[in-house]
Symmetry: C2
Subunit: 208 residues, 2 copies
DNA sequence: AAACAATACATAACATTGCTATGTTATGCA
DNA sequence: TGCATAACATAGCAATGTTATGTATTGTTT
């Protein structure tokens, strides 16, 4: 059949693009392949063009997010876990701000949505555990509350990491999540303790 | 001295750019000036280049947002007004989705930040009125709570208007604002009534 | 093993991009 | 009336993404 496309070269180009994003260098086809020894055609054989490259970079962003969330060790306190997941979400945005911007800028179709889905569903599962633990009332829809947590996380990431707000505005996450989870039925004082513990979870502060 | 720059031409170019954004046509210097009879140099005399044009478009976006918020008629119920401002914020994003994207994509420096400032401070004032009306407790920092409302609004706009969530996810605004304002001290039942009334304020649903 | 076919990859060219250099026209002030 | 200065037009440049064409390499087939 065909000579195999080297998957090494593929991810090498993606990492190169991520590195150039991080260093604020303009990502052009020619500058992208410059250090790699490949020719500009590599971008077309592996990604079909520049759009495909950005799709792959976006995919990489969601993959890193998913693995970051996967690194959050769950506890017996599901509300703490929810806050820890939120902290990990924001830590990922801080660690890869330009990648985060690409993830949500102009087009989000993914070749493999499972990474993005898995990220959301780790929140959904935590909400569900909070329900069965009696922390949230039965009327709470896990997907809805997870989505609302995501809205808070993304709003903060967008405004305070890639946007006009200063970075320490990220601490707004704590009172906002407390408000959200309290309105879902959690006891205010217990909720505050849980969220603050989750916010300081070590998995959220790793450099990458 | 100098021949006056025609301010008509300036805003004509901005409106043309906004129109091309709306129609999803790529905004290039040549296509921008195509219908106007001007030459490409007009963009350089009026805006100094493409960056300046995008800055002006962003400014236009904030101006439209400010006038939209200004159209919200205030009432005796400051919590209703906060929700109405939030609804107007989202209605503006729905009315001008591509403009909204430009407002927060890659760079936010504004020639005149007063439009953006005024938008935030209309929220701050409403929070302050809610405090003096006894709806929020005294410990609430108006700027902080206003910022948190903005985070919710922007998170929703970014995900449900220019992002992957369906547009009807905007209704998450209601429970999220209720949660936020309740945690600021408002009575839950009264808060729900106020937010739902504000959410249906007519000023939020005007086409422009 | 040899010939072949198909695909990866290199080279070069193309249209279009933002931008600049240069020339031309119009305007306000002396 | 002249003149300096700004507005505008024209043309061209380097760089961009993309495509066309040629070459080399690999897996398959007889």
């Amino acid at each position: 059949m065909a000579r195999m496309k080297d998957p090494r070269a593929r991810s090498l180009l993606i990492e190169q693009a991520a590195r150039m994003l991080r260093d604020r260098r303009p990502v052009t086809i020619r500058s992208l392949v410059a250090g790699t020894g490949m020719s500009t055609m590599a971008v077309y054989t592996y990604f079909g063009g520049m759009d495909g490259l950005w799709r792959a970079v976006r995919q990489e962003g969601f993959t890193r997010l998913a693995s970051r969330l996967d690194g959050v060790s769950l506890s017996a306190d599901p509300v703490r876990d929810l806050a820890a997941l939120g902290a990990a979400y924001l830590a990922n945005a801080v660690a890869h701000p330009d990648l985060y911007r690409v993830m949500f800028d102009a087009g989000f179709e993914l070749d493999d949505p499972s990474a993005a889905d898995e990220s959301l569903y780790s929140l959904v599962r935590a909400v569900d555990r909070a329900k069965t633990a009696g922390r949230f009332h039965g009327g709470v829809d896990p997907l809805e509350l997870a989505t609302q947590s995501w809205v808070i996380g993304h709003g903060l990431a967008s405004l305070a990491v890639t946007g006009p707000l200063p970075r320490d505005a990220l601490t707004h996450a704590v009172p906002m999540l407390i408000a959200l989870f309290t309105s879902a039925g959690d006891d205010p004082a217990e909720c505050r303790r849980s969220v603050e513990r989750g916010w300081q979870a070590p998995s959220a502060q790793l450099p990458d």
